[in-house]
Amino acid sequence: MSAAEQHIPGVFTGMMAVARRDLLLAWKRPGDVLNPLFFFAMVATLFPLSVGPSIEQLELSGPGVLWVAALLAMLLSLNSLFLTDHEDGSLEQMLVSPLPLSALALGKTIAHWLTSGLPLVLVSPLLAMTFRMPVAVTGVLMLTLLLGTVSLSLLGSIGAALTVGLQRSTALLSLLILPLAMPVLIFGARTVSLAAAGEGVAGGLYFLAAYAVLTLSLAPFAAAAALRISNE
């Protein structure tokens, strides 16, 4: 059997194995999932406390505040995406595995989204209620968060991979990710605002979907390249 034809484990199996392992780890350490969630809730609470309880004010600022809080919560959880793997040597084992690194990075990103992105989407209606958001608008908020957090997880995987071996990487990670995350924030918050004003939301949702698909197609490769470089 020549080297080129040699069979190696299934890409999909490997990707799912990584995702399953990370989900199992999250299950054994629920704090890692819950902390960003509490952070999300608390940041969203800070605004009514600081801006004042005027209902008009809350309705107006709700979409933006919830989106900023979600973005910050995602950033908070990203730092550890590859860090523990780097520290205990399992990242090195992935680097010498016969599976494409991009698939493994995607597997980890999927687990990250399931443990930090999806919970945000699920608790957002509760917070939306405190901002007096109508049910229909809350639906749009959840939809934008659903599409937006996918992009944020994927973009974050690039940033986390670039900063994995570095000292004091938290601030740097934010600096690298935020410019790329800004379109998500702009369109996410704006779409919810438009929904609140009773206007069409299709354009914004299409854009968020486009960004999610684009990052899904490119980010795993960029993250894999970054991981190899960071681990030299």
Partner: protein, 204 residues
């Protein structure tokens, strides 16, 4: 086809320091390559460079006459890697960790149970890795090698943290692997007694 690892003119700098320069060697089945040198002499870097984890300043590594960077996946399919850090998740049990490994590397050369018995860690199966001692974790890393059918074993200080019995077990496992036409590259700062053809590279 018999496997063959050829390294040609390997040169690596770390910052401004030259770790090794113009290093060439070849490894055939049943051969052991021993990398010797003091701490910080670049043994680990050389191992990592051969495995394709570090970009070399100059030179290239070929597996079956094809550069490994052009066929990274096939090369890694023929390789198991035992580093300083064992690469297991502290929160998962021994068995969960090894199951994950087998998903990454499909081939299973041996029965899990038998391997664990041989290494004397079958009683620890359900324990999380964090409750294992450093030497026991080392043995789990050995289990990873035995479970794989990879030709090339790359080991960085494999006997660290192991007791006398563990050390002789490692040597025995290496001998067995070599007798099955396997190849071993090992970095060690201790003397190794093994009954096989040994090439030694001493790094300054």
């Amino acid at each position: 086809m018999t496997a063959k690892l050829t390294c040609d003119d390997l040169t690596l700098f770390r910052g401004d320091r030259c770790l090794f320069e113009g290093l060439s060697f070849a490894l055939k089945p049943s051969e052991l390559l021993l990398l010797e040198g003091d701490n910080g002499s670049g043994k680990t870097s050389l191992l990592r460079a051969i495995a394709g984890l570090i970009e070399l300043e100059r030179g290239r590594v070929c597996w079956n006459d094809v550069p490994v960077l052009a066929q990274r996946q096939s090369f890694h399919n023929s390789l198991v890697w035992m580093a300083h850090r064992v690469g297991f998740k502290a929160d998962l049990t021994l068995v969960e960790n090894l199951q994950f490994e087998s998903a990454l590397r499909l081939q299973c050369a041996a029965e899990l149970e038998a391997v664990l018995v041989r290494l004397g860690i079958h009683r620890l199966k359900r324990l999380p890795m964090r409750s294992l001692s450093a030497g026991q974790q080392r043995r789990v890393a050995l289990a990873r090698m035995l479970l794989s059918d990879a030709v090339l074993w790359m080991m960085d200080e494999p006997v660290t943290n192991l007791d006398r019995e563990g050390r002789s077990l490692v040597m025995q496992l290496i001998s067995e692997h070599l007798s099955r036409d396997g190849m071993v590259i090992m970095a060690s700062h201790e003397d190794v007694e093994i009954d096989a053809p040994v090439q030694t590279i001493r790094l300054q």
